[in-house]
């Protein structure tokens, strides 16, 4: 069966205590605590895995231990042509390890696999699990004045409604930014509230003149405690709606991922028509999200004309969503077992008309933007994400596809209706802002084609199966949906009484933040907002549950001349341009 190959190979490296299978393509291997870093490194680098998510879990009520689950997507390193695992062997392998509540310490994987850094910092914030050897032990998710010995996600820690008293601002501990050493470096703070940022996030840019040498950031200003809320008082009917509200843009992808995780854990197959409609709605979401981001990438460089045009087209995609779901944004559609709302023939006909409009008008505006040399000079060569950095940090979505790595969940691990659909994965080499926007443009085209194929292929079946199902406590599964920004991964362990035991929701941007620092380096200050924008970041999504480069302390300070060569020169003073 799938995955066996990887487990076998892993067995030659470390001692595997137990192997459990969750579903066809998901396997968990329990390893000893001290073997953890080697096991994850082996699967990540030697076998071609990418880190999908890491879930700390309080399992004291089950086996008297805390558990860590490192979920890796086995798909090949994809660094060069042919460096990819065969399509029918791609799967998810989870490394599980148990931590005794007496020690609360585990060996950090981050020195071997940098992608784990945010996850391990979060494990301390939420569970008090200390990663021994983690170079960066600052708080990530919770605010700096959060009580020291309160770990919210421990089952016995606190009521979900409890809010600790805030400290007065002068009593609040200072957050330490990782700043490079050297003279003449100026700190430029950006945020938490800043006019170019749509949501709160504090960026500390370290500059020499106009050139960014390094950057550090503090996010999670609006952590909402959704996981705790769901564990305490939600049932599966309500969770879909809560998951949808994780994000204001890719909410539907979260809803599907959340519900599918629950469905997978009990092996519930939903009707083909429901699968098709789930794909249609998530692709509509991709249309409006990509149009939003391309529009904003024009806007932050001052190209208001193009911005307005792209938003004019985006309005059609919002209309489309309203037409097929009844709501412009929050669709309230997904329930366990299928969907609540079908699409009628009249709606399909009208949708196809709108799709045609979107397709032709996007081409028109994109051609005009491509012709604009000033716009191109602002996009090209800016914010480069190096291919090797991408490999180390497991970013997702257009961010990694812009660096020439063919990672797309819809292609690697086809879910739902994607098994029947033909589409090309948009991959562009270069890694700059331009490459990422190009990926988005190509995906707009493929989304239109995917929606059309779904309308054509979707069978006339029911849209929901009999919702009588029995969840099995302690079952868990991973569900993944390619949202506009990358894959949203939800991990659900079921509890008793139709409730969740642990819900780990990992939004796409969570994996994209850690490598942002590398994208900043060497760029002009004027491009900072553009680089953040090209990530299409979703602050508050990441903020239900943050990454910093650990190696930076050792990193050398580049000379002014080196940087000047690297960065593009701009005529106007960038400080004037820093909007």
């Amino acid at each position: 069966m799938k995955c066996d190959k990887f487990i076998e190979a892993l067995g030659t490296r470390v001692k595997i205590l137990e192997v459990t299978r969750q579903c066809d393509d998901q396997v968990t291997a329990l390893v000893e605590l001290n073997d953890l870093p080697e096991a994850v490194r082996f699967l990540y680098y030697d076998m071609g895995g990418y880190l999908t998510t890491m879930v700390p879990n309080d399992e004291r009520s089950i086996n008297k231990h805390y558990a860590l689950y490192y979920a890796l997507s086995m798909e090949g390193g994809k660094m060069f042509a042919g460096d990819e695992i065969a399509q029918d062997e791609k799967c998810f392998v989870t490394i599980k390890t148990l931590i005794s509540p007496d020690s609360l310490v585990f060996p950090s994987v981050t020195p071997l696999v940098p992608a784990c850094v945010w996850y391990e910092r979060e494990a301390y914030d939420m569970f008090g699990l200390v990663a021994e050897g983690l170079p960066d032990k600052r708080r990530l998710v919770l605010s700096d004045d959060w009580p020291d010995n309160l770990f919210p996600l421990r089952k016995d820690a606190m009521d979900y409604r409890y809010r600790p008293d805030m400290k007065d601002h002068y009593m609040e501990p200072e957050y330490e930014f990782l700043r490079p050493e050297g003279s003449g470096i100026i700190d430029v703070p950006l945020g938490p509230l800043h006019i170019t940022a749509d949501e709160p996030g504090h960026f500390r840019l370290f500059c020499d003149g106009d050139t960014i040498i390094d950057a550090d950031y503090r996010l999670f200003y609006q952590h909402r405690g959704m996981e705790k809320l769901a564990e305490n008082r939600m049932n599966y009917d309500q969770m879909g709606y809560l998951a949808e509200r994780v994000c204001g843009i890719c909410g539907y992808a979260h809803a599907i991922a959340c519900i599918e995780a629950a469905e997978k854990a009990i092996n519930l197959e939903i009707p083909a028509r429901a699968q098709a409609i789930r794909v249609i709605c998530s692709e509509i979401e991709r249309l409006h999200s990509h149009l939003l981001n391309i529009g904003l990438a024009c806007e932050v460089t001052g190209n208001y004309n193009a911005f307005m045009h792209i938003f004019r087209i985006r309005e059609y995609s919002m209309k489309l969503a309203e037409l097929v779901t009844g709501g412009r944004k929050t669709y309230g559609n997904v329930v366990m077992g299928g969907l609540r709302r079908d699409i009628t023939g009249v709606e399909i006909k009208e949708s196809l008309r709108i799709l045609q409009i979107i397709e032709t008008q996007v081409d028109e505006v994109w051609d005009a933007v491509m012709d604009d040399k000033r716009q191109m000079s602002r996009w090209k060569g800016v914010g480069i994400l190096d291919k090797q950095v991408a490999r180390d940090f497991s970013p997702v979505g257009p961010n990694i596809r812009g660096s020439g790595i063919k990672r797309d969940t819809r292609y690697d691990h086809p879910y739902d209706f994607f098994k029947q659909i033909q589409f090309d994965v948009a991959v562009v080499e270069g890694g700059d802002v331009f490459a990422r926007e190009m990926v988005r443009y190509m995906e707009l085209k493929s989304s239109v084609s995917i929606i059309r194929q779904c309308f054509e292929l979707m069978p006339q079946t029911a849209i929901i199966v009999d919702p009588t199902f029995h969840v099995k406590p302690e079952n868990y599964a991973l569900a993944y949906v390619e949202a506009p920004r990358g894959d949203n991964v939800h991990w659900i362990m079921q509890g008793s009484a139709q409730k969740v035991f642990r819900w780990r929701c990992r939004a796409a941007t969570y994996n994209n933040w850690p490598s942002l620092r590398f994208q900043f380096r060497g760029n002009n200050l004027a491009d900072a907002a553009l680089i953040v924008c090209s990530l299409d970041p979703c602050y508050s999504c990441t903020e239900r549950v943050t990454v910093v480069d650990i190696k930076s302390k050792k990193s050398k300070i580049l000379t002014n001349a080196d940087l000047k060569n690297f960065a593009r020169t701009q005529k106007d003073s960038p400080l004037k341009d820093l909007r």
């Binding site: 309500q238 779901t325 005009a368």
Partner: protein, 179 residues
């Protein structure tokens, strides 16, 4: 650059005159749930289905009225209430202008239904309309006159008294003929 201006010329003005002209939403739009008091029977199905607890159905302090209350500020427009309502008293409307000025109580909608008291213990237990509705359903269900009369009795009893009465009948040693 000039190309973009050409596109502007081609499509002209595309903005709506809203709010000076009404804005038409698509059919089956999920707007504010509209409540028709006359149809409401106080069965509380909507209150149970509502995932965000926007709808609550409970007695007032002296239990003389059953209060159906909807807080639009909590509503997520999912339409579960619309789905479960047996009488169509609550339907998602096309209304989307929901902002209120300063006064949050303007978001709340209430319906007061008369309480049904138990014929045996005289405690309040349901809404009069629900009892009436149940009876109407039964009378359409092709049951015999005698059974209907019996049902009428039972309908006006609170669950506890109903249990006691049933147990009393079964254990009383009276012979019954099921018609």
């Amino acid at each position: 650059m000039m190309k973009l201006l050409d596109i502007s010329k081609k499509y002209g003005e595309i903005t709506h005159k809203y709010p000076f002209e009404p804005y038409k939403v698509s059919d089956n739009f999920r707007g504010k749930p509209a409540y028709i008091f006359d149809l409401c029977i106080g069965c509380a199905a909507c209150g149970i289905a509502c995932p965000s607890n926007a709808i609550t159905v409970q007695f007032n302090d002296d239990k003389s009225k059953l209060i159906w209350e909807f807080d639009c500020g909590r509503c997520i427009f999912c339409g579960r209430c619309d789905e479960v309502c047996p009488t169509g008293a609550i339907k998602l409307s096309e209304e989307f202008e929901l902002a209120v000025k300063f006064d949050k109580s303007a978001l709340i909608q209430r319906g007061e239904l008369d309480t049904q008291y138990c014929t045996t213990c005289h405690k309040p237990f349901s809404a009069k309309r629900l009892v009436k509705y149940s009876f109407e359903c039964l009378s359409k269900a092709n049951v015999s006159e005698k059974r209907l009369e019996e049902a009428k009795n039972y309908l006006c009893m609170c669950p506890t008294c109903k249990k006691t009465a049933t147990v009393a009948t079964f254990t009383g040693g009276k012979e019954m003929v099921i018609e």
